[in-house]
């Protein structure tokens, strides 16, 4: 009965989303048809990411979020000539993936790998055209549900399914992961069992496992070869250094200092109301590793932090009218960030004015706070309105002019 009810709710969403999409599509199509590409999937899209290889431009992986065991993952490719996005590869996946990511291999030196996180961390091998036959021959159907749409299509191979719990075949579900682009052999995963696990992908083994927080860890992000940060339901952002595993630095804690904490805590792990508000997403600026941004649960606010000034936000972005779902730093600029949320808007902000202030001393921070108070907050420079709540946002690292968003069952590629 619950499933049936939820199906009805989704049907209503579908109709509403369809109408909104048609309206927006019509307007946008007339003005900027060549700058917006849309792909409609058969299910709600949640996990989505760009390909990082130089020889695979405009390729993305999208994953479904269905309330069932069997979910789908598709690798889609934008045809620049015709302007259409077509699926290249499709396979089944157990449990909805919480995050998907291609191996950060810009020069295409390593095998083409795709990682997904759900109940386990799974590494998939995408065969290239050169070893298509080898890929087909070595496809391991016993290890998982691997199915191809066409017989001619080379099959994807489940290369490894990483389980961090040695005592049993079951471990806590993974909420997110991040692939270290400085050292592609490392993947860091975050789990609801309060741990962060650092994997060695080549040895397919656990490198390090840390009890990162007191509650569920919701996201993890690498800041360097051996430094990562995580956010948790306990409302804190912590930075870890693999050279000193006994110590972690708390960069920010919601519910203290500038954070007023808003909305209900119905989603919190312990239920009821808690003083610190959970933090659900984290983005570390790759261009300027001093800055990171985090999303507060049920809050339209995005907090930008400076790791040199713990517990004091550099700036808080307030222009969303509904809770924010995703953040992405610009891969080619150190002071631009894109945010997307339930208000169906994707906003691009320029933090250069604020960043200059915080680069100075405490007086600079004071000036920044005064400036922020006087101006009533920072305004974004660009905005895009989609047809439904935007659930995922990714800024391409190889083509920094493009941003991909996912809302309802649609994937859109936008030109910045």
């Amino acid at each position: 009965m619950g499933g049936v009810g939820e199906g009805d709710a989704w049907a209503d969403q579908e109709q509403g989303n369809g109408g909104g999409s048609r309206g927006v599509g019509g307007g946008g199509g007339e003005a900027k048809r060549s700058e917006i590409y849309t792909y409609e999937a058969a299910w709600h899209i949640y996990a989505m990411n760009w390909s990082v290889r130089r020889d695979k431009k405009y390729r993305l992986a999208i994953a479904s979020l269905l309330e069932q065991v069997t979910n789908r993952v598709e690798v889609v490719q934008l045809d620049e000539a015709s302007g259409d996005i077509a699926p290249v590869l499709t396979f089944d996946h157990q449990y909805p993936p919480t995050k998907t990511m291609f191996m950060p291999d810009p020069h295409a030196l390593r095998p083409d790998l795709l990682a997904t996180s759900a109940d386990h961390l799974r590494i998939w091998r995408i065969p290239s055209s050169d070893d298509a036959e080898d890929g087909a021959a070595s496809a391991n159907n016993n290890n998982g549900s691997v199915r191809c749409n066409g017989t001619q299509q080379p099959g994807i191979e489940l290369r490894s399914e990483l389980n961090g719990n040695r005592n049993s075949d079951y471990c806590g579900p993974l909420t997110s992961f991040d692939w270290n682009d400085a050292d592609p052999r490392r993947i860091g995963t975050s789990s609801i069992d309060t741990t962060c696990t650092i994997w060695d992908v080549e040895r397919e083994a656990v490198d390090t496992q840390l009890i990162a927080h007191d509650k569920e860890v919701y996201d993890i992000a690498w800041g360097g070869a051996g430094v990562f940060a995580s956010v948790s339901a306990d409302g804190s952002v912590r930075v870890f250094d693999l050279r000193d595993k006994e110590h972690s630095t708390i960069i920010y804690e919601s519910g203290s200092g500038g954070s007023s904490g808003g909305g209900s805590n119905s989603g919190a792990g312990d239920g009821g109301t808690a003083s610190p508000t959970p933090l659900v997403r984290l983005g570390w600026n790759k261009q300027d590793p001093r800055y990171m941004a985090t999303i507060i649960m049920d809050s339209p606010k995005v907090v930008v932090l400076d790791i040199r000034y713990p517990t004091l936000p550099v700036v808080e972005l307030h222009r969303h009218h509904a809770p924010v779902n995703a953040i992405a730093w610009a891969p080619h600029s150190s002071c631009h960030i894109c945010t997307a949320g339930d208000d169906m808007q994707a906003l691009i902000w320029d933090l250069s004015s604020m960043g200059t202030g915080s680069n100075g001393s405490g007086n600079g921070n004071g000036n920044t706070a005064a400036g922020a108070a006087a101006e009533g907050g920072l305004d974004p420079i660009l905005a895009y309105t989609a047809g439904a709540e935007i659930e995922q946002l990714q800024w391409s690292a190889t083509q920094p002019d493009w941003v991909a968003i996912a809302f309802a069952n649609k994937l859109q590629i936008l030109r910045v």
């Binding site: 309330e67 222009r319 809770p323 936008l414």
Partner: protein, 557 residues
């Protein structure tokens, strides 16, 4: 255009200077060059040096001096000009300044020369060694030597470049270009040959004088630019009229002199005509400096063609999908914000951070949030319990290794034996503390008993009478009893034998004493015992009885 000189031709050219000048004039005028020169090896100099032999000047004329009132053709005027320039050079060389007034009216003076004419005169001062300069190189290799872009040549290849660059002044060139005329740059070319010879000359003093005159001439030319334009135009028209006649005459004379020269010159003329036709078709001004020409093969390189250097500018970046954020869009978004109110905020995000629905699927039930929370609590509890158990197990192992009397592995036994061990340790501590206090007291008693056994020994009867309390009966047996409160210290010395220890301890047991510590040593068959005991019961035994019992035990054989 270079003449292929041979010894026979050389002899012919020697006496007849005029035919050589005619050939040079025909070559210069056919391609509209400013001048043509002929160097030959001087016969008066010991080393073979190329010196000026003859030349024809076809350039601008600054001031005309007509010696006769009779009208002359353009060709004759140019010939006369060349002769006048030569005469001026010779006059300057000989330094006949004082004869200036005595010269004929038609002679030129330095003030009458333009820049190009000055250059023509100064060329007469140059002499080239074989391999030096263009004429020298041509003489050494006996081949044609071409120099393109003469205005860019260095002084190594073109020793007269510095002088020749004077007309290359940018201002002068710009002024010429503004008048839509061909630049007035002289075209530099020589007529190198192998064998003819002429007089040699050239001094630094003369060159210095010429340079000064050049400067003055330039100033004068700047003022009179318009006059030259008119003169050039008229001269060009006259030259066009007489071109056919000149060519015909030249052909005939060359035919008489040498057949190969005639053929070569005819070929050059054809090439020139073809070039001009091509230029007319393309509506392009001829550029002498840009094309290459030789006697056997005429070709126009692509560089002579007009090139459109400017390329189309690159396309700008395409428009962005985003629009500029404004307050109005904010208000519009405000209207749109009403829609998400119905939905649960951050629904998919919460679902993802809750584990991607894996928990919900595992439970196969409704109320995902509540069940997930409970399961999370249970999971945490299980994890904590597991860690606690591992910690306890580790501590039990440590405890087992620390306590020496533990032999069993189960936790209950470990704990029980540890408790017992700790109690024993506490008791020892109390005993040691009480012993230290007793040591300082005055409750110790020493009893020496040996009188009974002395009487049984007749040989020691006398000694016993004298010292009854000190000497033992047989000398090898000694018993000392020290009583301190409830603690008893026994010291026994006697000959060792089998079952002696058993008898001693049986005696202690019969006296209700608990042995606490025993120190035994057997050296040379002599045993020493030091036993620490304690009264087991409530009653205390008299030290004498203890000593007596021990004596009995030792005495039994």
């Amino acid at each position: 255009m270079a003449l292929s000189a041979c010894p026979a031709q050389e002899e012919l050219l020697q006496p007849a200077g005029r035919p050589l000048r005619k050939q040079l004039a025909a070559a210069a005028r056919s391609i509209n060059w400013s001048y043509s020169l002929f160097w030959s090896i001087s016969s008066t100099q010991r080393p073979r040096v190329l010196t000026w032999t003859d030349g024809f000047y076809n350039g601008e004329v600054k001031t005309r001096k007509i010696s006769h009132s009779v009208e002359l053709t353009a060709d004759q005027l140019l010939m006369q000009r060349s002769e006048q320039l030569r005469e001026l050079y010779e006059a300057l060389q000989s330094g006949e300044c004082d004869r200036r007034a005595a010269r004929p009216v038609g002679s030129l003076s330095p003030e009458d020369l333009g820049d190009t004419e000055w250059y023509y005169v100064i060329c007469m001062t140059y002499a080239f060694l074989p391999g030096q300069g263009l004429p020298g190189r041509s003489s050494a290799s006996n081949e044609h030597v071409w120099l393109c872009n003469a205005h860019l040549a260095g002084s190594k290849d073109f020793p007269r470049a510095l002088l020749a660059k004077v007309p290359e002044d940018p201002d002068l060139i710009n002024r010429a270009t503004a008048a839509f005329r061909e630049p007035q740059c002289p075209i530099y070319s020589e007529q190198p040959s192998s064998n003819p010879s002429a007089d040699e000359t050239g001094e630094a003093a003369d060159i210095a004088v010429f340079e000064g005159l050049d400067h003055n001439a330039m100033d004068m030319e700047t003022a009179g630019i318009a006059v030259f334009e008119g003169l050039d135009h008229n001269a060009m028209d006259m030259e066009t009229v007489t071109a056919a006649a000149g060519r015909h005459g030249t052909g005939q004379e060359l035919g008489e002199a040498d057949s190969p020269s005639n053929a070569s010159l005819e070929h050059i003329t054809k090439g020139i005509d073809e070039f001009y036709n091509l230029c007319e078709e393309m509506d392009v001004q001829p550029l002498e400096d840009a094309w290459i020409m030789d006697g056997s093969n005429f070709e126009v390189p692509s560089s002579a063609l007009p090139v459109d250097g400017s390329s189309a500018p690159a396309d700008g970046s395409r428009a962005t999908s985003f629009v500029a954020w404004t307050r109005s869009s904010q208000s519009c978004s405000g209207e749109a914000a009403a829609v998400p109110v119905i939905e649960e905020p951050q629904k998919l995000l919460k679902k993802a951070v809750a584990g991607g629905g894996a928990w919900a699927n595992t439970n196969c039930g409704g109320g995902g949030t509540t069940v997930t929370a409970q399961e999370n609590g249970a999971k945490n509890h299980v994890m904590l319990e597991r860690k606690r158990r591992e910690k306890l197990n580790e501590m039990f192992l440590v405890l087992k290794s620390l306590v020496p009397s533990i032999h069993k592995v189960d936790k209950a036994s470990i704990l029980a034996e540890t408790i017992a061990y700790l109690k024993e340790l506490q008791r020892r501590v109390q005993e040691l503390e009480s012993r230290r206090q007793g040591g300082s007291g005055c409750v110790s008693k020493k009893v020496c008993v040996g009188s009974n056994s002395k009487r049984k020994s007749p040989e020691f009867a006398g000694g016993a009478k004298e010292h009854p309390w000190v000497l033992p009966m047989d000398g090898t047996s000694n018993v000392t009893v020290t009583v301190s409160d409830r603690d008893v210290l026994l010291e026994v010395q006697c000959l060792w034998e089998k079952l002696l220890m058993t008898r001693v301890f049986d005696a202690i047991k019969s006296l209700h004493l608990d042995a606490l510590s025993v120190q035994a040593s057997a050296l040379d068959g002599f045993m020493r015992l030091k036993i620490g005991a304690q009264f087991a019961g409530s009653g205390a035994v008299v030290p004498g009885m203890i000593s007596q019992s021990l004596r009995k035990a030792i005495g039994k054989r």
